[in-house]
């Protein structure tokens, strides 16, 4: 419970800024961020959590319902859970990480039950803990974060990281956009839990996810991995935002004339839908759901039905137009590279959790919505918070250390032309939304796109800082741009099809690419191959 003496200290709130002193700063207030903040506080740290939106509603989970990779500890169940997804993920997972995530997720889910999360109970009276309702879950997480003594800054997007003279992360600074001033948190360790990047595609709840944390971390020198696994697209009504691809397992897909599109399916046939959408409208109808299933769908996922109920469409008996919205690295598996069990990154004092961190360790090259990602948010959040608290404790007294601001693009003035965030964001969308560029990849098209993206970067990196109103969008657009370049450079480096990464010019999986692809850099983006760490895997490859 709250112990005032253990709270982060508000140093000043002079005109134009507010300054805090903390042990751990968590950026992002979704599942990973809240778990990290609670964990850091439980491990003795004074914690500040800064969320771009409102901790409790922002992020991909809050708006949705999500499965959770929660598996009973019986060895045969755990074995089956790990084995079932290895092929799908292109055999890039690490069994040791899968096992520890299953253990940690089991513990955290049960913790949620103790905290009062209303898990459903099945016909046999057994609680079912393998799914969560986003609004309910995140409302509870906000409450528990506050009760842990964490200082929450809502509507407080981070703009740049602070580091000390030896490159150790020393906090961050950002905007309080509803108060019209700035915040600075001097901290001994920082957890990046800002989610992935969905490129403002309006996939449900994901418009806050613009890769901001990636950009901050890259500016401090952090590395990424598996960024080529970033071409997830979700099915939604063409006019709407609600992406719930699971429910389309019960759908039939038809063209303008009403003819069934051969091979179209939510699982294993989404590329057929993408190809059909390039030719004309595609319609879906959930005509394979029986009355019982329909009932379960309604109570499980009320928001799925809002677009239909509010437009007078019965999705079970009527056709409706659909589209595929880009989920980018949110349902991808790439992100900040994790270097040890505490979810440390390559930058001292900087930790990563949730979708901002790589999920290659448990998903390889493929995830779906929720499930593994939700389990990863709980687990990596817990470890990152613990790791950051430990790092802060070890660092000891840091009073008086000099800190340097590490932000670059959009924050300095050099050219006399302010960075136009909205226009830049649209240009980036033009390179990552089209199925022929991102869904179906090919060296020539990727190369052309990268040339355009690199040119955008050259312009953006010398542009002036926009005014306060335009600053956040400018940084978001810059983060989207940087993310697109890491994605496509990595995609070029993987000359095969594996996991969700599809190459028209290399349609088969190729054993020579059974490694990870690291990437990073801002002005010059680099990639390099990294071997799989798992001894289990080395044996299997022999």
């Amino acid at each position: 419970m709250t112990n005032p003496s253990s709270c982060a200290e508000r140093l000043s709130s002079s005109a134009g800024s507010v300054v805090f002193d903390a042990d751990v700063l968590v950026l992002g207030g979704g599942p990973a961020g809240t778990w990290a903040a609670i964990s850091a506080a439980e491990h003795g740290a004074r914690v500040v959590l800064a969320d771009k939106g409102f901790c409790g509603t922002s992020g991909a989970t809050a708006a949705a319902g999500t499965g959770v990779w929660y598996v009973d500890p019986a060895p045969e169940r755990r074995e089956a859970a790990m084995a079932s997804r290895e092929k799908l993920g292109g055999h890039l997972q690490d069994r040791r990480w899968m096992a520890r995530v299953l253990d940690r997720t089991y513990a955290q889910s049960n913790q949620l039950a103790d905290w009062g999360y209303p898990y459903p109970v099945d016909e046999d009276g057994k609680p079912q803990r393998n799914s969560l309702q986003g609004p309910e879950y995140m409302r509870l997480m906000r409450k528990r974060t506050k009760q842990a003594g964490v200082t929450i800054l809502d509507h407080s997007p981070a703009l740049e990281l602070l580091v000390d003279g030896s490159g150790v992360v020393a906090g961050a600074t950002g905007l309080r956009r509803q108060k019209g001033d700035r915040w600075t948190v001097n901290a001994k360790a920082v957890v990046i839990a800002t989610g992935g990047c969905a490129f403002l595609s309006k996939t449900l709840g994901s418009n806050v996810l613009t890769g901001d944390g990636y950009l901050l971390a890259a500016e401090a020198g952090a590395e990424f991995t598996s960024m080529e696994f970033s071409n997830a697209y979700a099915i939604s009504p063409a006019f709407g935002s609600v992406t719930k691809t699971l429910f389309y397992s019960w759908a039939s897909f038809t063209d303008e004339q009403g003819s069934v599109i051969p091979g179209a399916s939510s699982k294993g046939g989404r590329s057929v839908i993408a190809r059909a959408l390039r030719k004309g409208p595609v319609y879906a109808q959930l005509d394979e759901a029986d009355a019982e299933t329909q009932k379960h769908m309604r109570v499980s996922q009320p928001n799925f039905f809002l677009p239909f109920d509010r437009t007078g469409i019965d999705p079970f008996t009527q056709r409706f137009p659909i589209t595929l919205r880009l989920e980018g690295t949110v349902r991808g598996t790439g992100g900040l590279r994790i270097v040890d069990d505490s979810c440390a990154t390559t930058v001292p004092g900087l930790y990563a959790a949730g979708d901002a961190a790589t999920r290659e360790l448990i998903c390889g090259g493929f995830t779906g919505g929720g499930s593994h990602n939700a389990a990863w948010a709980m687990s990596s959040g817990y470890w990152a918070g613990q790791g950051a608290a430990g790092f802060a404790r070890q660092l000891g007294v840091t009073a008086g250390r000099q800190v340097i601001r590490r932000g670059t693009v959009g924050l300095r003035s050099r050219s006399g032309r302010p960075l136009q965030g909205d226009a830049l964001a649209q240009s980036v969308q033009g390179e990552v939304f089209p199925y022929e560029l991102n869904y179906f990849r090919e060296a020539g098209r990727l190369g052309e796109s990268l040339r355009r993206l690199d040119a955008l970067w050259s312009d953006a990196s010398v542009a002036d800082a926009p005014d306060e109103q335009g600053l956040l969008r400018a940084r978001e657009a810059a983060a989207m741009l940087a993310t697109a370049r890491w994605m496509y450079r990595s995609a070029l480096a993987r000359q095969e099809s594996r996991g969700m990464h599809r190459r028209d010019d290399y349609p088969e999986q190729d054993d020579r690419y059974r490694h990870y692809v690291s990437t990073g850099g801002l002005d010059d983006v680099w990639t390099s191959a990294r071997p799989l760490p798992s001894p289990h895997y080395a044996e299997a490859a022999e």
Partner: protein, 106 residues
């Protein structure tokens, strides 16, 4: 996108201003204003958090709509999402009604 703040029901509690993840609303002396509608990501969360059922989010994510507020109230559409997830007194029993576990594995 968010389309409606019903002036009769809104009590200017500013919860929508606080909870909107993309900062679509501005505070005013009276009821909040939809200031940046194009930033709305159509997540329905402002509507869910509104204790007075004063908000309506249209399901159209990309195009603004013209809506008849009286008709929406007549049809009891305002607040329908809150009721469906069990966030009203009369629908509390729905909070643990999740049957997702029956749908997985299809």
């Amino acid at each position: 996108m968010i389309e409606v703040i019903d002036t009769e029901r809104c009590t200017a509690c500013d919860i929508c201003f606080n909870v909107c993840p993309t900062n679509v609303f501005d505070k005013t002396d009276r009821i909040p204003r939809i200031a940046r509608q194009s930033d709305c990501q159509t997540c329905f969360l402002c509507e869910l958090y509104c204790p007075e059922d004063a908000l309506f989010v249209s399901p159209f994510a990309d195009t603004p709509q013209q809506l008849d507020v009286a008709a929406l109230k007549e049809a009891a559409v305002l607040g329908s999402y809150r009721r469906a997830v069990g966030w009203t007194d009369e629908s509390r029993h729905l909070r643990d009604a999740d049957r997702s576990y029956r749908l997985f594995g299809h």
